[in-house]
Symmetry: C2
Subunit: 345 residues, 2 copies
DNA sequence: ACCGCGGTATGAATCGATTCAGACACCGCC
DNA sequence: GGCGGTGTCTGAATCGATTCATACCGCGGT
């Protein structure tokens, strides 16, 4: 059933070394023996045992990708970018999901270490654990994804989330909104904190520039999900009209969709009565029936670049890089308020 | 850097066998030596080499899940179900994406075979390749996911897609629609063909029962994606009003969302002027601003059940099962046409 | 004194692919 | 004839964890 290289050698009448050569450096083997060996392999249905290869070689042919939320299309898009590069390098990808739970992250990292992966791409959970440092100490290349590097001695691929938050808020201010909500506030994730900081900065600058009434409300739903968005929206609706925000910047598109859904459910017209800006620009943002204005980042490129850096880590003259991508605001209908929102409420 | 069990043994002053026992059957080792060994492990930062373990044990601690489209939330939901069961069994999951391309499927199956995975869960590409049969011949358990088994000698977890298609079509017929479109027609995927068959059956029965004008238009976009849905919708819009369908059953929710988006973009009101029923009931269906009526299937349960069957395959008295889940129509706004649709166009 | 026995610990053999020093054949050339 | 070179193939050593037959210790029973 499970044939070894030895069985193949026997059948082809050659030594095990020759079979190995046929598998790995066929140019060293003469045409005749090569076809004899390949025939034997086909006849026996031989499949190389990767564990044995790995044991000898010392490292595997795979890399790990650890994400926060496999249900968020942002991460599957990143994964596609990673996969493209990893595939091209002849490696395979082990995709792990943590749901932002440190215990799961720890378990996954332990497994990946046992598997002797060539490297790990990770969007860490809110609290940056020591496990990642431990991995790096063991000599396993690690590249942070969608997360700024705390120190310069490692690679990280991120986007300028402060800028992203700022772009979103400035857009809403320009369109006449004064009372703005930021939805997703209390998350421990630095990405969210930076988006928040960008929004705060934009609002404060507007105020300093003399814009009257510019004001920010921060809402912190339990989850950064569609359900979380709904929860936050219903809280917004509960605020007395005079103080109620007329627009929201959401920390991701999932929440933005939840907000949109809840607003529509309560008969609040989007964008006329309430404008929404999302973050990530997942495909579903454009596909929403009120297409969502969103802060766009090159999701696949992020994954690709991260994977490239990871592969480069094991090359001799590697220098650590921390590329930061620039987000772009994609304006769609959800923020195209047609009248002065201030006058309306 | 990379410590072996031998280094640990040296440091703790015991034999390699004892270290192995501490790792795998700690109850056989006396308290004193056990803590000595554990201390040595901690001090050296020892991490077990999984390849060596596997080589000796003959099989790995992981299973593969091969899906058609990682971007489709349906599959990530299935994956969550699988992961739950697989995690609980102390195994890890290798997630592979084929994009319905046989070549990629082949490559992934080859890798999984080389890794000696304990089993494979797979939603095969349209053309059922011989690679799966070859895997099973090698003794690797394989369970089909969201796909009926061609023969009774294997496990498969599916839903009754003929029923699903029928439920969707009957619902639209009951609400007064006569000219119905099925979007996603020419796919080679049996799932889609069955949904189609269900729709056809419902329409024909209606006609036989004397319902005048019941009629089906089949549209076959290039992809079963949001873009495919948009493409199909714009073709629907191009049909002269007198013959144009007033409602559509889509082969999955991604396409339904695309249809919805395109209709809204052209000023066609949903559901008043055009009703839409999706399939799969992904979370984004409910979150769409016009919440989508959809044929719901227990996505996580599907994954869970499939994983359970896979694990059971390697147990002695295993009998193959082909559970078929019943889909349920979840009615939301996208099909709640308020007036007689026939009168309108 | 000897036996038997449970509780512990040992270490050589094993899994299968890779690697590399060395064997062998054959060729051309001095 | 002898020598270096090239092309091809061999087979033992190796990677690290697991396993199992074996040995050892101490102790109660006879």
């Amino acid at each position: 059933m499970t044939n070894s290289i030895r069985d193949v050698a026997g059948r082809a009448g050659v030594s095990v070394g020759t079979v190995s050569n046929v598998l790995n450096r066929p140019e060293l083997v003469s045409e005749g023996t090569r076809t004899r060996v390949l025939d034997a392999i086909a006849e026996l249905g031989f499949v190389r045992n990767e564990s044995a290869r790995q044991l000898r070689a010392g490292s595997s042919r795979s890399v790990g990708l650890v994400v926060l939320d496999i249900s968020n299309p942002f991460f599957t898009d990143v994964a596609r970018g990673v996969e493209e590069v990893v595939d091209a390098a002849g490696l395979s990808l082990i995709l792990c999901n943590t749901d932002d739970r440190p215990a799961r992250e720890k378990a996954h990292l332990a497994t990946l270490a046992e598997q002797r992966v060539q490297g790990v791409l990770i969007t860490p959970t809110a609290e940056l654990s020591g496990d990642i440092a431990a991995l790096r100490d063991r000599g396993v290349p690690v590249v942070l994804v969608d997360r700024r590097a705390p120190t310069a001695d490692q690679c990280a691929v991120s986007t300028d989330d402060v800028l992203g938050g700022r772009l979103a808020a400035e857009h809403l201010l320009e369109r006449g909104h004064r009372r703005i909500a930021f939805i997703g506030g209390a998350s421990g994730l630095p990405q969210v904190q930076e988006r928040h900081a960008g929004v705060v900065a934009a609002v404060e600058e507007a105020r300093r520039a003399g814009m009257a009434g510019a004001d920010l409300t921060v809402l912190s739903p339990a989850e950064l999900s569609v359900a979380g968005g709904r929860e936050a929206a219903s809280r917004v609706i509960g605020i007395p009209a005079a103080r109620r925000p007329t627009a929201a910047v959401c920390a991701n598109d999932l929440m933005a969709l939840g907000v949109l859904q809840e607003m529509v459910r309560h008969g609040v017209r989007v964008p006329d009565e309430f404008a929404i800006v999302g973050y990530d620009d997942i495909d579903f943002a454009a596909a929403a029936a009120v297409p969502l204005t969103s802060v766009s980042k090159p999701r696949q490129d992020l994954g690709r670049r991260a994977a490239e850096l990871l592969l480069d880590e094991s090359r001799p003259g590697h220098v650590h890089e921390q590329p930061v991508f620039e987000p772009v605001l994609v304006v769609r209908e959800s923020s195209m308020t047609r009248r002065d929102p201030g006058a309306e409420l």
